[in-house]
Amino acid sequence: MQYEAVIGLEIHAQLLTETKIFCGCSTTFGAEPNTHSCPVCIGMPGVLPVMNRKAVEYVVRTGLATNCTISAYSRFARKNYFYPDLPKGYQISQYELPLCEQGFVVITVEGVRKKIGLTRIHLEEDAGKNIHDGAVSESLIDLNRAGVPLMEIVSEPDLRSPQEAVAFVRKLRTIVRYIEVCDGNMEQGSLRCDANISIRRPGEKELGTKTEIKNMNSFRFIEKALEYEIKRQTKVLGEGGRIVQETRLWDSARGVTESMRSKEEAHDYRYFPDPDLMPIEFEKSWVDDIRKNIDELPDARQERFITQYKLPEQDAVFLIAEKAVAEWLEQAVSLGGDPKTVSNWVQGELTRLLNEENLSVEQCLVKPKHLVEMLELIDKGTISGKIAKTVFEEMFRTGGEPRAIVEDKGLVQMSDEKGIETIVDDVLNRNADAVERYKSGEAKLVSFFVGQVMKETRGKANPKIVNELFRKKLN
């Protein structure tokens, strides 16, 4: 039986403020445990929270960047539950009247664009960290993270496949990084994602019973966990069973989702408006100021790359995903690089080497001007396109200038026709049988001959001249 998946996501993004949401403690990641806490964030009696203006502005900035309506009036609520990482016994969050509502983002999957609705974006405080060290019989609590501002983005159940879900998270990550409100680091947990997922027969209007999937801390795990869960639910229904509404944890080591078996009925958060925090009213001028601080957004940049640089959509989608990569390309183009050629190098060698070394483009030693200078060397025929890869890799390892590398390593292209001809003749003489086969119709042997010359000259022979010589001599 074929089923259709219906997926909605909840994304938690830590905001890049200097201080916590309700107190002046630092939010720096990786500090010594329990050194960033104060009476407010460890829930001492009698203390009062005061809202960090920047945290509110960052959420509104995100709302504006995702086509949301900014609420004219917004307030905060207490979500009551007991857990050791939550010092007050309640989390300050939002229930009714969140900061932003009814937005959307556009994703592209396999060339098809799709609008994904956002139900709401609200602001809340993060909890502390529990450490369950196998060797210790108790849990350890670090409250440095307690009170770090957290933005929760809730999507509509508009996603229909794990691939769409991943594209959606990628898009939101790109946006929050562009507008500099969250670093988007999934490994460190500054961007986290939970999913609600159910399945139904195609064409059916009503939603099936959903499960909530947690603990998917990478794009790959989101895809794998949702694929697994769709298979699991399909199997349950196929065997005539019923889906149980529950929370399931993704176990990446075993590649399965597993029921948390917690008492679901135990959750009763008894939300009520927090009397310690005053409501927020947005004057139009304040929202306008926040809007003014938003630079070009990823979608606009994508369109511009297509119209201004005449790049294929596929290139543009790739290039804009990381702001720093897009800016790297723009610099190279402004220095005279051909957009499509630069795009190919960025998507090819640059990305390959960055991934190999696990570096970001900001850490990269090759600067846009180095690439442009190298491309000029290709255009002038000083080096071949093949040798350029060697030059590029050398620039990547050492940060050297392309001209200096070409001279030091003796990589200048061999364009002396007489010299190349000697080698070409030599290759033909040594491979008389291949020449026979070529003449009897094996046209693809040309690349074998060219390869032999390249081997002989360590890639330096001008490929254009080599090809011409072979054509002349063999026909």
Binding site: T17, E18, T19, C23, G24, C25, S26, E32, P33, N34, T35, H36, S37, C38, P39, I42, V50, M51, N52, R53, K54, A55, V56, R75, N80, F82, Y83, P84, N130, I131, H132, V136, S137, E138, S139, L140, I141, D142, L143, M260, S262, A266, D268, R270, P273, P275, L277, M278, P279, I280, E281
Partner: protein
């Protein structure tokens, strides 16, 4: 109001006698507050805050945190770096 549900949310273990006693006491409190239902509030905005104050903010400036030993001073169980609590794994 289910007194067992309430006790569970408050992480309290109640004896049967206590359950009966508290059910009666909580019940009478709720009945008393129920008097408010006699008022017609259909034309009244729900009051979330009693003071007419809005937009109270602090700027995003770092202030000193508590030294760790001070912050953890009252913790019943701790080590050098962490609070220690009974194992919690959901």
């Amino acid at each position: 109001m289910d007194i067992e549900h309430l006790a569970m949310l408050a992480k309290l273990n109640l004896s049967d006698e206590e359950k009966a006693l508290f059910a009666k006491q909580v019940g009478s409190v709720i009945d008393y507050i129920g008097k408010l239902n006699e008022l017609d509030t259909s034309q009244v905005e729900p009051t979330a805050h009693v003071l007419p104050i809005k937009n109270v903010f602090r700027e995003d400036n770092i202030q000193d945190s508590l030294p760790r030993d001070k912050a953890m001073h009252n913790a019943p169980r701790k080590d050098e770096n962490y609070y220690r609590v009974p194992k919690v794994i959901e």
